[in-house]
């Protein structure tokens, strides 16, 4: 299982934020799942989809050495632009995270943990500027095309910090169950997206009935 139980044993967290039912807001969870399938990390790296946890994020940041957050961000840039923020940007209000429901969370959780001396030693946000965050929509082609870049950015950030992380010889098959309900292929894919479309065309809900996960 990729997730953890917030037991506090992981020293490093790679976390996706966002609502998978709201189009580009699902960027974080999708990138996290792609990263888990394409890269292998040492055991104390927790790779986790945190959804839209709001203030409930606190336990997942508590006492970590390093936290990488992947999320949709509100910035004056073109949709699909990747932006990197550090915790100081968040606390200074320079980064506006979460363009969808339950907007607050990360800043507040971080500030609370700072007060009790349990804030992560380092926190980095890899954000994408969304094109559309409407309920029931699939992720937009523009944002989809940045997913691989984000995945590789996570790996690079970990390697730069001497965290054991390497590309798998054969990628695992991602479990992106939520994309089943979107009408894939209706929007005409751009040529640079073909790889992604091929990648996802193989994906179907492959869970046995009533059982989720592995």
């Amino acid at each position: 299982m990729s997730g953890g139980t917030s037991s506090g044993h992981s020293r490093i967290s790679v976390a996706g934020l966002g609502n998978v039912l709201l189009g580009d807001d699902g960027f974080g969870p999708l990138v996290i799942e792609m990263f888990r399938c394409e890269y292998e990390c040492r055991q104390d790296v927790e790779i986790i989809d945190l959804g839209t946890a709001g203030l409930d994020l606190t336990p997942y940041l508590d006492g970590r050495d390093l936290v990488l957050i992947v999320d949709a961000v509100h910035a004056d840039e073109k949709p699909g632009t990747l932006c990197i923020y550090r915790d100081t940007d968040l606390l200074a209000g320079r980064a506006q995270l979460r363009v969808s429901a339950h907007d607050p969370g990360l800043q507040e959780s971080l500030a609370q943990l700072k007060l009790v001396g349990q804030a992560p030693s380092e926190l980095i946000v890899i954000g994408v500027v969304p094109a559309c965050c409407e309920c029931g929509n699939d992720i937009s082609p523009t944002v989809l095309s940045t997913c691989s870049v984000a995945v590789n950015s996570i790996a690079r950030l970990l390697m730069e910090r001497d965290v054991d992380c390497h590309r798998r010889h054969a990628a695992l098959e991602p479990n992106v169950w939520w994309r089943g309900f979107h009408q894939l292929g209706v929007a005409s894919p751009r040529s640079d997206l073909q790889n992604h479309d091929e990648y996802f065309s193989k994906l179907r809900t492959r869970r046995p009935a009533g059982i989720i996960g592995e």
Binding site: L21, L55, P59, H102, L113, Q118, G136
Partner: protein, 566 residues
Amino acid sequence: MTTRVTIDPVSRIEGHLRIDVEVDGGSVQKAWACCPMWRGIETILRGRDPREGWVFAQRICGVCTTVHAMASVRAVEDALHLEIPANAQYIRNLILIGHALHDQIVHFYHLSALDWVDITAIPKADPGRAASIADGISTWPGNSRRELETVQNKVKGVIASGQLGIFSHGYWGHPAMRLSPEMNLLLFAHYLQALEFQRKSSQVVGILGGKTPHVQNLAVGGVMNAINLNSLATMNMDRLGMLKSLLQDLVPFVEQAYFVDACLLAGSYPEWFNYGRGVTNYLAVPDLPLDARATHFDLPGGVIMSGELHSGRQIHDWHDETIRGAVAEDVTRAWYQGAGAQKPWQGKTDPAYTDFQPEGKYTWSKAPRYDGKPMQLGPLANVLVGYASGHPLTRKWTDAALERISSVQGSHVSMESLQSTMGRCVARAIRSAMLSELGVRHCQLLTENILRGDDTTYNPPEFPRHEVAGVGMHEAPRGALSHWVVIDKGVFSNYQAVVPTTWNASPRDEKGVPGPYESSLLGNPVADLEKPLEVLRTVHSFDPCMACACHMLDASGREIAQVKVL
């Protein structure tokens, strides 16, 4: 002169709740609650396999994931008349208790306490005096003079640095802030200590659910937790022992810090028992089933109309025909096509957006009604219904709360007073104290059942070809949640989630009758139009999911209150 104040806490982006009030002579004369975001879960679930509905349903909301998953599986099980094993009931109950305690602790300390607690007053406190105040009312070990001094120094440091950060948007120094510096210090110390118990309660959910947020262990027909006392990889005595100690660790914090603080706060702001009464019809559904067939429950359900506890009606179980027939959702004033009310099983979700029209349609929230009447949901409904039915655990903690509040305030506080803004805050603490006891109890029930040799956790569902309908009920932290499903040829043909915040934030209906938020704000004082703290106190007392919490959390520094003069 009437002034219109719009509180749109997440106006920089799409949000969940906007409150408009008309203020005249220092109090609210009219109020509108608007949910500016449409949840289209119904559309997403139609045509899907009912066995995986819960996986989608738990993504409706990031904060209340577990509750929607639970209501979804219960709805399908109800449609199939499918019983689940006793172990599955206990495991689900423990998840629900872990989630609720987490949620209610976070609500009190991290989302609403700063409506009442003034951080900027903390440097003036005498930590020794604060410790001795605490000593007389609580056995909590985190109240030592040394501990309180440490917290005070942290706060002084933050204030001196000029970087109040997330706390810079509180209404500090507001005339409605009235705690002594010592009480501000004490409550803020618990605000920080609460983080540890937030983590412990979410660990309960994680151990059983496989992962938090978004549990993975549910299934239509039970849970997917394997039980084998001889295996290291499954639910075994070791795992049960971990659960037990986590649940036991929560008890002292909930009973000696949270519960005591809520009573202290209530006794220090007695006038807030006079505001925020609003809709006095209450609905709670029974929860924490004790047997496979769900015939007995540890939390009672019922209906109280017009605030009259003695004439309340009990809801004994989820098969109660009255509630199944009484719930309907009115769309007259909501951004959906048509007017009037529909039963959830026949409910439609066809949008018809018009912009905010206070005399017309003005919200995405439908108006759920019970026999045509608005109902208030949440811990207060829970407590009143339990008290009225003579439920011993409810009575024990409610009586304890009233006694404590009366002693702080120096005059008698009655049951009647609980139907108010402050009453909702107190009721949440009462419910938390009950749940912390029940957590230990349900862990014991699970262990005993397993030791009797029962290791079943799942009964496989079978879907008929013909149409069946069901409702799944759950008494969630914000109140009675129900998912209504129609299944035809093995797939959902209709899915309607009637959520507590929809009941409480409901707009006016066909007859023009306002919902609970709207009614509760009438007569609410507003001392400073630029800082409508008192409005937020009443709205926050309902715990409106995350949305209204943003007033103090807006890190971008943008204004959240727009004042319009009519």
